[in-house]
């Protein structure tokens, strides 16, 4: 007979085992988000295709044609932009979905017990599926430009996980803050939009002057985007290692911050949501 003891501070101790025990809930919640999103099948899938495609075209015209910024090596400019657009969309979608997740599931939080971290993490799956759909466009573009990727492409799953982790840390923190301060949600579109401009999406990070590059890598998405370009464009886009390591460190820092903040505020969610 399993015995449950409820006392102040108790959930703290078996949190991570609980998280594992509730894995079926994680699966069903992500399945629910996906099912609802793609119920209107055509619109759902089209949206995942049109958004990155149009942004990519605008960026290619603006940065490539009008501003005449150089591409990475011999890679076509459009391909270089799209190789960055994919991780950026993955990051921004997963960040905004995760940030709004707790408020969106307020009825669950106030009526049922489960480790709350399941809610924001389940939303990430939707962003991941959107990403996989957009990935098809990339493949089509590579065929069109007759661009053959090298062995680097094998590392892409690693960078996908990195992009998700980069969004998960801040996402956890924001969604927790969102429960307490309801107007915090207005911050998210701003972060996403601002981030698009300060991340090397429309241009190559090689255009950033050498002595500024390390500083530039304080933006965790710089490392992730550079990594994606390295995987897809291969030798045309060599990885700037010190910057990449710095980005990684920042991602880990934000992840730690997000998890600890979330855990700290989690206990009061049911009381204030």
């Amino acid at each position: 007979m399993n015995e449950i003891i409820i006392e102040p501070g108790r959930t703290e101790k078996n949190y991570w085992t609980d998280l594992w025990r509730y894995r079926e809930l994680f699966i069903i919640l992500s399945w629910r988000d996906l099912a609802v999103r793609y119920k209107q099948t055509i619109i759902g899938i089209l949206w995942a295709i049109i958004r990155p495609l149009l942004t990519m075209i605008v960026f290619t015209v603006m940065f490539g044609r009008v501003a005449k910024l150089p591409s990475d090596g011999h890679a076509p400019y459009a391909l270089m932009v799209f190789a960055a657009m994919l991780p950026w969309m993955l990051f921004s979608n997963s960040l905004s979905e995760a940030s709004n997740s707790l408020i969106g599931n307020a009825n669950l939080i106030s009526k049922v017990y489960f480790p709350r971290m399941i809610v924001p993490s389940a939303t990430i799956i939707t962003a991941l599926v959107d990403f996989l759909i957009s990935f098809v466009i990339l493949v089509a573009m590579m065929i069109y430009y007759q661009f053959m990727p090298g062995w680097h492409i094998l590392f892409i799953p690693f960078f996908i996980i990195l992009a998700l982790l980069a969004s998960f840390g801040p996402g956890l923190w924001i969604t927790a803050l969102n429960v307490k301060y309801r107007d915090f949600r207005y911050v998210i579109p701003f972060i996403v939009q601002f981030g698009l401009y300060i991340s090397p999406v429309g241009f190559s990070s090689n255009v950033v002057p050498e002595n500024w590059r390390l500083l530039y890598s304080l933006n965790p998405m710089v490392g992730v985007i550079d990594g994606f370009r390295w995987c897809i464009l291969g030798g045309n886009s060599p990885l700037y290692l010190p910057g990449f390591l710095l980005s990684m460190a920042i991602i880990v820092f934000f992840l730690w911050l997000g998890v600890t903040r979330f855990r700290k505020m989690e206990k009061t969610f049911a009381d204030i949501i």
Partner: protein
């Protein structure tokens, strides 16, 4: 028999800030503004040499305090108490939704809590999909749901609409499906909150039956309700909560009568100072009384008398489309009469934020006895105020039937006009 739930010195403290009046959550804007203001005030105090006062005006409220009880395996226990007595907080702690501030609870076995029917139901998903979704949320595994799937569908009587999105369901079907999932959880302990308030009478009976089954299978049931009848049927023992404390824990019959008499005592307190209110509290009912034909309050109501129920209200906002309701109960807690201002043709044209509404009754259809009344105000579907036992009154024998005679042997029942005659019908007599 061993204890299955043991609660020791349980307490839950909430801190209520007085500046966050319009809701439980705060806006960052407000916090920034307040901090800026505090900083300014503190600087001012510092400059002028006054002591710095720390913090906001916050108040500690103990929703539960020093709660102790033990429940044995296989017992069905009712929990009663007024709004804000701590019942919901207790259930939330037992279902681990919120952590206690002090004390400890030891539970031996799996707990399933049903604080709401259809938690997590998604309107866009089909009935089938929602069974899996809701089942998992309530803590069933996929395999378990699959095994009980047919049983759930049969209980809910929705087999024809399994692949229809639940947004197309009627509210009755929705509730049936939701309860069916919950009813097929097989926990050692089932915690239920007021879920029977929804659904039609027949389904309520079915639910009660199912819960009774659960209790008789040696499972433990903890059942919160305002429906004394349901508690009486289902639970052998009952806990009576008031102001966060256990007042009594005994045989259901005894607890119900002491609960009802405490409500009666309470109704002698001025209504406006009552704190045990439900609803948002934007508007409150400040007084209830019964008035005679001339409008003066009645000290004693006579069966069959023409009278009015007068409700005084006070509102902080302009009421747009208010509905006033009251229900009259007998002393066993059974509802006898229900009145609802939205049921009549003429809507109430309310312009003032303070005033009186009255409901006139041509002939009070109640036999002698003592009655109490629950009152509520709603506006556009939102509950603003709800008071249990807002008014109690006694009815004495009168001239309801116009004959001067009265019912003997029965009290606290409803009356209606009656006409007796001899029925001379060939078909009837032949049948007999």
């Amino acid at each position: 028999m061993s204890d299955i739930i043991r609660v020791e010195n349980l307490g839950k403290k909430y801190i209520i800030g007085h500046q966050t009046e319009n809701g439980r959550y705060v806006a960052l804007r407000d916090v920034l503004m307040r901090n800026a203001k505090n900083l300014w005030n503190k600087t001012k105090d510092l400059v002028s040499g006054k002591p710095i006062i720390q913090g906001d005006t916050t108040e500690e409220v103990w929703a539960l305090k020093d709660v102790n009880f033990e429940i044995k395996r296989g017992e069905a226990v009712g929990v009663i108490g007024r709004n804000g007595a701590g019942k919901s907080t207790l259930l939330k702690i037992l279902s681990r939704i919120t952590e206690p501030t002090t004390g400890r609870v030891t539970i031996k076995g799996r707990v399933a809590s049903l604080l709401e029917v259809g938690t997590g139901f998604h309107p866009e998903l089909t009935g089938r999909e929602n069974i899996y979704l809701n089942g998992t949320i309530l803590g069933m595994s996929r395999v378990e749901i699959k095994r009980k799937f047919d049983e759930i569908v049969a209980f809910a009587e929705v087999d024809k609409y399994l692949d229809t999105p639940v947004k197309m369901y009627s509210s009755g079907m929705y509730v049936r499906l939701a309860f069916a999932v919950a009813a097929h959880l097989e926990p050692e302990i089932l915690v239920v909150d007021e879920v029977l308030a929804v659904g039609d009478a027949e389904f309520q009976k079915k639910c009660l039956g199912k819960m009774d089954d659960v209790a008789h299978q040696g499972r433990t049931v903890l059942f919160v309700s305002h429906n004394m009848g349901a508690i009486d049927v289902l639970c052998e023992k009952t806990i009576f909560f008031d102001q966060g404390k256990v007042i009594d824990f005994d045989q259901t019959q005894e607890i119900i009568s002491s609960y009802l008499s405490s409500i009666q005592r309470d109704s002698k307190v001025a209504l406006i100072s009552r704190k045990d209110r439900g609803g948002t509290g934007v508007a409150i009912i400040s007084d209830v009384h019964i008035a005679g034909v001339d409008g003066s309050p009645l000290k004693q109501v006579i069966s069959g008398q023409k009278c009015s129920i007068i409700m005084e209200y006070e509102s902080r906002i302009k009421l747009i489309n208010p509905t006033f309701k009251f229900t009259i109960y007998n002393s066993f807690g059974q509802p006898l009469l229900h009145f609802d201002s939205s049921l009549c043709d003429k809507p109430l044209q309310i312009t003032n934020n303070k005033g009186c509404v009255g409901c006139s009754i041509k002939k009070l259809p109640l036999a002698k006895g003592s009655y109490r009344m629950n009152v509520s105000i709603e506006d556009s579907g939102q509950l603003l105020d709800h008071l249990i036992g807002a008014y109690t009154f006694n009815v004495v024998d009168g001239n309801f039937y116009g004959t001067g005679r009265n019912i003997v042997g029965l009290k606290e029942i409803c009356l209606t006009d009656q006409d007796w005659s001899l029925v001379e019908n060939d078909k009837l007599t032949r049948k007999g």
